[in-house]
Amino acid sequence: MTQHQTGRVRRRQASGVLLVATCIVATAACSGVPSDGAEERREIAQRVEDVEGLRPVEPFTVLTKTAADDPRRFEEARLIVEAWQAAGIPAELEAVDSAEVSERGFANKEFDTYLIAYDPTLERLDPDDFLSRFWSGTAESDGSNLSGYRNDEYDELYLGQLRAGTDEERMDFVREAERLLSEEQPAAPYLRQTIGSAYNSGDWTGAVSALGNPVYHIWNSLQMRPTGDRRTLVVGVIAETQTLNPVTATTSEAAITLSHIYDSLVRIGPEGEPVDWAASDVQVEGSTVEVTLRDGMTFHDGRPVTGEDVAFTIDYLLENEAPLYAAKLDGVTSTSVEGDTVTIKLDSPSASFVPTALATVPILPKHVWEGVDPADFANDQPVGSGPFAFESRKLGASLELQAFEDHFQPPEADGIIWATFGSIDAEIGALQQGEIDILGDFLSVSQLDALKDADRVTVQEETSHGWNGVHFNMRREPFNDLHFRRALAALIPVDDIREIVLRGGGEPTSTVLAEQLPWHDTELEDLSRELEAATQEMEEAGYVIGSDGTLYYPPEGEDNRALQPLP
């Protein structure tokens, strides 16, 4: 019965989106100039009459989620496919459900082009997350280099930034790597979305905006002060934290919740810089990281936090392959403890170790976890040393934490509650009624606009440091050709996507590293999104179009493609 109903709900959503999509298409068709074949086609390669012996470019697909799963992404993909088709490129839309998208994109690499959206996570404030996605070391089938980009020059720059001794030295490598990616376009980032959210300013003061999340972040949990009757901060979320076990948790929602219960040695500050947290000092010398623990810290059960706990945690998370943390700790070869000082040895110097690993890895109490098999351990009464201590949990409804007054930075509120909602509309409604204080999810531009006039509610916005873009699968033709990729990138209708799909909620981009981060090279020129640029690339490589409109690979002798060898 319930399955049947599920199907009904899905179909309803799907048909709704379909209706809207149809309306958009119909409007576009009516308002545009009536198109009549060849004249309207904006072809981007030279026309030839004789196509004897030429090899056609096979039709390829743009992999994206279905309109029911992700309407925004589906619409963006549709506009991109239309723009490519209008230029004579044989692209087709291929919308499949979320699980299949991950399977083909991340697990099997079975796609031609893949429309992706990278969220603005804390890890991505460090350039390593994005840069590692184009390193040949991650190009294998279980890696995160979706494009399959392999370039020795790039690999050197990538490893160079990782092993750099100083920030300045690292900056040079990062910028060169960014420039190379921007030129070669193994993936074409085109937009950074506006991320906006809102909080209950009628009952709370002291909220700040942080890079990567305008409202819902640990600094607001700590410093927002109640001015009303309720002294516990209530955060509305759609996706609840399903397990409080840091060793088995897999979702970014869980990572945020856990960071309230557990301290990390370092935290990423509101400005995106790593700041010392449970560590009073962090020294990096080559491949050795020396951490001194802050004095007088205790776990929620009263036992002191020691260097032993830190060393134990690192070994334990590695040994049990904790999905959220083990990959970040990958390079650790040994840990040793001397009093309050923990020495971590890495297999090679890593500039990203402190801002990604140390800033997220939770310090677990050795006395709780020692001898526990984490796979069978629900950890439903978690003991950490963080600013909030576990109070209660109702599955599917709420998770409540109390302020931990013995913490070195105790929160202003008496506690924090995550309340799980059935839909984003219910969450917004609850904020307007003052039942909750913070929206834990990002809102669309129209939802933000509607809230801007609301009483006792304040909207805050940032530009994402993640991006929406297209991964080209360079393991396949024709995406192994630099010119073809640059032509496709130039044809992405960024302005249309921004105006029509996002209603102005985003900034155009053509590089992986966000413009607002210090790592970005401000002298880097934006990729041209003009038709001429695409035409120039295609003609330079030698592609031609037959009289029936079919796109062909360059004729022999005129083949100037810049190819990465196929596997």
Binding site: T2, V9, A99, F106, T420, I436
Partner: protein
């Protein structure tokens, strides 16, 4: 003796059906493309953890091995560990089932009691203004999509009038206390009202039709000839007999007791079985789905078996077939 033999046969079939349903669901969920490790990896979780997840979930073993260990555990009352919650399925199910029962059971009681009463009134007044008013209202309720009616209720009674909370089951950030507090009634009011009127339509319409038939039956004529009062005829004679088809609706709706109501739960953010099962499907949480479907199947089969046995007891002819 015949009754006993019938009961034994019936119970045996129950067990067989339950086994077949469990087996079918076990393989059906695994036949859906994709798997739980794939649903988790993506931009925020490195694809390299996939193998680790598969071995954690026991998916690296053969399907037959998985099936046998599932059967063996289920026989011992162990439904396994949920992939999403990483805690025993029985614990999660118990919590969600309680939430669902809190909402659905009262709604069903209200719906059947009130629905039959209103249906009786409409049936007696067949063709008059009363009847057409009532049946049109109920048909309108039945035709209106639940998500629309629910949203409308929220807009009026929560957002505009502020009488009821916008959703959830209990006060956030208050002293809360246990589940069974007076406060719960405020949270229960709107979803209970909505679910009651949705459930009420069928018993009401069934009762109305059935009443009409019964009112023309011989024994009613006889009662009339005996000079009994109209009230006695309608409620003591006719309504009692007209109630039988309404009662036979019960097994059909009993699956909601366990399956929950996903749309109502979503609108009112009620943490019940309906939402749980939708999310379990999306997250490929096989143990959770197996547990939930086992529970639903067991309940539906049991309710049907009980009603069959009751029929057999009430009507000797059933035993012979």
């Amino acid at each position: 003796m015949a009754m006993l033999r019938y009961a034994v046969r019936r119970v045996t079939w129950m067990a067989v059906t339950l086994f077949l349903v469990t087996t079918a669901t076990f393989f059906l969920f695994r036949a859906v493309p994709g798997d739980p490790s794939v649903a988790l990896i993506g931009p925020d979780l490195d694809p390299s953890v996939q193998n680790k997840l598969r071995s954690d979930f026991g998916l690296d073993k053969s399907v037959l091995d998985q099936y046998l260990s599932f059967l063996w555990q289920a026989l011992h009352g162990d439904l396994g560990i949920s992939f999403r919650y990483r805690q025993p399925v029985t614990e999660v199910l118990a919590e969600k089932l309680l939430n669902t029962l809190l909402l659905v059971l009262p709604a069903m009681i209200v719906a059947f009691v009130l629905g039959s009463a209103i249906g009786a009134v409409a049936g007696v007044n067949w063709g008059r203004a009363w009847d057409s008013g009532l049946s049109r209202t109920f048909l309108a309720v039945k035709s209106a999509p639940v998500f629309w009616t629910g949203t409308l209720l929220l807009m009026v009674f929560s957002y505009q009038l502020g009488w009821f909370p916008t959703g959830g089951m209990s006060q956030l950030g208050g002293d809360g206390g246990g589940i069974f507090t007076l406060e719960l009634l405020r949270y229960l009011a709107l979803p209970l009202f909505l679910l009651s009127i949705v459930f009420m339509v069928e018993p009401m319409l069934t009762m109305r039709t059935s009443m009409l038939e019964v009112l023309h039956a011989d024994f009613v004529e006889l009662a009339r000839a005996q000079g009994l009062s109209r009230r006695t005829i309608v409620f003591n004679k006719a309504a009692r007999n007209a109630l039988l088809p309404v009662v036979s609706l019960l097994p059909a709706v009993s699956s909601h007791l366990v399956g929950g109501q996903v749309i109502v739960e979503t609108i009112f953010s009620w943490p019940g079985m309906g939402r749980e099962m939708v999310e379990a499907v999306n997250g490929f949480d096989y143990p959770m789905l197996q547990g939930a479907f086992l529970l639903i199947a067991a309940l539906v089969i049991a309710v049907n078996a009980i009603s069959d046995l009751l029929y057999a007891y009430l009507d000797p002819r059933v035993r012979l077939t």
